[in-house]
């Protein structure tokens, strides 16, 4: 059994473990890359034709005949690892990172390699960033109660995420979120009956933050519904 076939079998086994029914046939890595450490690029597969492969962000690479006539339909929308030959054509495609492969950013590829170059394809990736949300609570907040973050991601479930008490009057939480999305949130003490209120006891607008970069927000709760 050749090394490339072993690689394919290992990758297939891992894929089966990781994605179960979504596992599909993998293509053996080509022979043009260095045998000991193939270089691969990670992206999300959007489209594939007989001559080209379109990746996340619209980046389109030429497809080598060596890739074969396999059906990649089930790989669409999934993370894939592509290997190129010296001419910049895609010779191999896999769902899991092959062992001993060297993972490189897609942005490292020369623009001339692309049939269609995405704008900063690597930067466009919808990766996750962390928002740190800090809230100051009123001094008369019951000392045994926890403060929760309630967001639009769960339809404002009142006890969605318990925050961390960083001092008697401040709570904080790190929220991983897709870059570019918006988080709408409110603070509660675990139920909608003890949600935040303004100083006069009236309802408050939901807080909103754009997750364009890792950032730290600071909010104030003026009063609680049950502790005016």
């Amino acid at each position: 059994m050749g090394r490339c076939e072993v690689l394919a079998l290992v990758a297939e086994r891992d894929a089966l473990k990781r994605i179960g029914a979504l596992a599909f046939a993998l293509v053996a890595f080509g022979t043009s890359a260095r045998a000991d450490e193939p270089q691969v690029y990670r992206s999300t597969l959007l489209g594939i034709s007989t001559t080209a492969i379109t990746l996340e962000g619209g980046a389109t690479l030429r497809r080598s005949p060596a890739l074969g006539a396999r059906d990649f339909t089930r790989a669409l929308g999934h993370t894939v690892y592509v290997q190129l030959d010296d001419d910049g054509t895609v010779t191999a495609l896999a769902l899991v990172l092959p062992r001993h492969a060297q993972l490189l950013p897609l942005a490292d590829l020369p623009q001339a390699t692309f049939a269609i170059a995405a704008r900063s394809a690597a930067q466009q990736a919808a990766d996750h960033i962390t928002l740190t949300i800090v809230v100051a609570v009123p001094p008369r907040t019951p000392s045994g109660d926890d403060v929760y973050l309630s967001t639009d991601r769960t339809g404002f479930a009142a006890a969605e995420l318990r925050m961390n008490r960083i001092d008697p009057l401040h709570w904080a939480i790190d929220v991983p979120i897709a870059r570019g999305s918006t988080l709408v949130y409110r603070f509660t003490r675990g139920s909608s009956a003890n949600g935040e209120r303004d100083a006069a006891g009236g309802g408050v607008h939901a807080h909103l933050v754009l997750a364009d970069a890792p950032k730290r927000t600071k909010d104030n709760v003026a009063s609680w519904a049950d502790v005016p």
Partner: protein
Amino acid sequence: MCALSARADARTTLDVRAGTLDFYSDVLALVAHDRVVATIGGKTIAADYAYIDVYHDRAVFGGDVHLREGASDRAFATLAVDIDAICGTGITADETPRILALAKLDPRDEDVLDALPTGDAFTVTAFDGRAPYIRARHAVLNAHASVRLTPAAFPSNLFAPPAPTFLYSLAANPNLTTSTLPAATFDQPLNLAGGKNALLAAHLRYLEGTGGVIAFDEHLVDEDRAYAVASLDAPARAAQTLGLSAYQRMSDKLTQSFDTSRSFGLTVAHYAFNAEVGRLYGRLDVGQAGASGTIETSLRTRERPLFGGATYRLRAAYGLDHNPFGELNRAADPLNYPLLFRTSIQADLASPLFHGPFGTSVSATLSDAQTWYAYPRTRSSLGSTATISKRFSSALFGNASVSTNFFADDYGRAQLKFFPPTPVVLSDGSTWFGADAFRGFTTSRTYSLDLYLTPRPSTDVRLNITRTNDFPQFNGYGRPITVARVDVRFRPIPNLGIAIGRSDQFGWGGVRFSRWSLSVTP
């Protein structure tokens, strides 16, 4: 993509059918696989894969993509669509791929572009086997309003049975999910109908002591200005509960709310009116619980600076209590007092945040209140709380607090009539004669220690040990002297929260461990 085209005023509808259609509510994305057919603005798009960004109203189609209108059919390797403007950008499946702009998403009206347009038209998220919130085969997206998924299965929630249909509201309005349903061990909402300003939902619930029940609620909202929620829980069961909650912001300085519920034959209602009056906050409360009612008007100051960062506030109230059966204990006073007026004042003091040794931080509050009733009676309370916190690491936090409260219910010369020596029969059948000393003066002291471990934002463990020292308090009567409790909360996926807890009260009243508490929430 279509960057220069204005957004359509009318709401666009995108209809998608596919072999598998997964909805990820935390990023508001629909991912379709297997024979994807979408229709928008009279055009049909067939593809092997689609990623629909519900929040930004854009879609990416991949695989063998065909854009059709009438007899026209244009093939693409990838097609990005702006759902609002009904325009698109396609990458052809030609030997030399080209970029085509489709101004009206018309396969007969295309322009060749030199490069991909600016924007995130082809940006997608790969979920790679992560279980979706809802899996369906048909989705109808009403831009900026809602997504209806049919039929709806919940692969990430083993407790939730599939539903014929589910409506997910895109209105990021907390008022649309304000609940008047009582707390439940398990609650799976199934949104049936609605849009940006209304939502009708059924709830599959499990109530401790009652079992599995169904509930319904209807929400009406007017942005942040007003909402009304009506609910019916456990219909035709003994635990049936009706609820209504309404809120209105009338101006920057005026709000009002009304809440009522009926369960086990008892109706409870409460109306509140809040007003900002100059530098003061005014409030009117009207409450009714069965035959008893209260009315109270109050004024309080804002939080005012005192010295060194400390603050204070004052509150005064005037109200009346009504009970047709008498407000006072008839055994103590045979006269019937169905109506009693009262006047109260309260002063609250809050310390600034102190930074202590070893990275600790400390704050304290003090509160004193006095109420005078029309009947010769005064009720006094004095409470204080001191809290100290320490952060040990990014995932480990500690918190300790000491609270003391003193209450005095003073009837003057009639004190012994209202609080005669009364031995207490304890839960083990024995008698506690120490309760004879109780004359309406209550003391409670609470010492609490918490440790929080938060390895991930969606996972946390809380350990709590609470000691109390009260009067009256004896074996099984009053609060347990020592309680240790552990609570574990985690979210295996963004739409499923599980909380498990248990406490040990060390044999207080013959009870050692509490039952496990379990809560499964969206």
